[in-house]
Symmetry: C2
Subunit: 311 residues, 2 copies
């Protein structure tokens, strides 16, 4: 059932996404004594994996719902992904953004055809404005991670990776709101051959790590991490998936994230955002159990502010 | 004859090099109203195209010459390329480097097995030391650009590009010491279908531009460009090739180089060094004649100091 849902999702989103390349680096593989395959979603349309889930959720809508459009609140990659997906499917997209969002993010959303509503930079204002637009326009609210169609869409990156490398022993992915790691774990379970999923999470925003211990959804107390895509909390749709299908979550420090990001830029010559470096940082940190294994690593996105690099 | 030499060069260097990918960006193609194909030598082994010429020159040596090793003086990509090529072919490599070369460059040469001799940072001292080693060891001196086998080896990047995109109207390459642009122009002429070669050169080191006008090899008066791979002068082997086979050289300012580099990092999510941005800067500057054409752009390398970016 889940396997079929993943397959249906992949088949329908294919025309709207890039099949991203899988890259290797001899040097980085040697550093962890393993065979590492990087799935490069930094080369994905809109600059991150988020378009996979956005397209999948929009394609699930009825014709009437599509005409009324979709609404989301985001200052990051999901805003761009929804804008581009909606334009390509022919659906209006209303994007609520905090007034202090970087100009470059606003410009990107606009260039993809998203209709921006600015609001005060609090989560309450963002939700209130998104809800107002939802009611006014009859638009459907899209959540970036706590939505089953978004989770299934995000999982398709791992399906592509396993198509190329069917024998992976492990897949490492980043843990933020939980949508990507949940989708990754489902795809690894249903399309891999005993392929296990490991999450990398910044120690500064360790809600998922603590949630797995306590057995209930814990909240982050700060958002004090450079990995700006991973500051959000788990949701009730993805937490049970993570409980059932994610083998382990490894916490990494800010310095470890920056070091992994630097290594990937320097050795692989690709631009990834800090959140993307978290899974490889986790592998670098805890390499012993993964020695001589075949390992996939999801590089989730490449939307980084080049004027504000950590090195 | 030249066509056969190129083919022989390509066939023999293939086991030692990566077949690098060709990437496109809708956004960058749209900016110049053309269909642009980027040949990504930033993903090449040792981080730049230079390994193509280095391998080709070393494979040309007799068994005795190989045993005696090769020597070069370089603080940049050629030092790394010669070290890695020599190690993989099983030949000793002696690398003369200026004492003020960045530690990261020395470490890279060492990691590839090159035997470093440090010398005072003047061109005279570099040449004197290289010559001393040549005599002491019986080693063969390799020149990074003014050597016919190096030129032929460098041309193989364009052969690969034309294999994937046979109908290119133009290929843009960077102009420094002249080895890459000469090889590019030969490959474009003999393997393309009326494919013309355009050089991009920093206005601050415009020796090639002036040489084409005066009909003799002109020297750079300064090395004042961020494109550190393009500060050297043309040589007597590559200048005649450039005169005969390069259609035009376009000069670009430092600001234009940085802007093109930023665009490629931001939109394509890849790391290129400043020299690599020069050909695309040239296309951005003079786009009118190239409208609606199919254009190849050689991205020559990705060895950049991440701690000293121009943005």
């Amino acid at each position: 059932m889940i396997k079929e849902d993943l397959q249906v999702s992949y088949d329908r989103i294919r025309p709207y996404i890039h099949h991203t390349p899988v890259l290797q680096s001899r040097q980085l593989s040697a550093m962890v004594d393993a065979d590492v395959y990087f799935k490069c979603e930094n080369f994905q349309r809109s600059g991150s994996f988020k378009i996979r889930g956005a397209v999948n959720a929009i394609l699930e809508l009825s014709e009437t719902d599509r005409q009324n459009g979709v609404v989301t609140h985001s200052s990051g990659n999901f805003a761009q992904a929804v804008s581009l997906s909606a334009r390509n499917i022919g659906v209006p997209a209303y994007i609520v953004m905090p007034s202090n969002a970087p100009e470059v993010k606003k410009a990107a959303v606009q260039s993809y055809g998203g209709q921006i509503t600015l609001c005060p930079p609090t989560i309450e204002d963002r939700e209130k404005n998104a809800d107002r637009i939802r009611l006014e326009k009859g638009a459907t609210l899209l959540h970036p991670s706590n939505d089953i169609n978004v989770i299934l869409g995000h999982g398709t990156a791992t399906m592509e990776l396993l198509e190329e490398q069917p024998d992976l022993d492990y897949i490492f992915g980043p843990v933020g709101g939980g949508g990507l790691i949940a989708g990754t774990a489902l795809a690894a379970h249903f399309f891999g051959k005993n392929c296990k999923t490991i999450g990398g999470e910044p120690a500064e925003v360790d809600d998922a790590y603590r949630s797995l211990i306590s057995g209930k959804i814990e909240k982050n107390e700060t958002t004090n991490t450079i990995a700006d895509g991973l500051r959000t909390n788990l949701g009730h749709h993805n937490f049970p998936v993570i409980q059932n299908y994610v083998e382990k979550i490894v916490l990494v420090s800010e310095a470890e994230i920056v070091q992994a990001m630097h290594l990937i830029w320097e050795r692989m010559k690709i631009v990834i955002e800090p959140s993307s470096a978290v899974p490889f940082a986790a592998l670098l940190k805890e390499k012993e159990p993964f020695k001589n294994k075949k390992i996939g690593v999801i590089l989730s996105g490449g939307n980084v502010d080049l004027a504000n690099l950590p090195f």
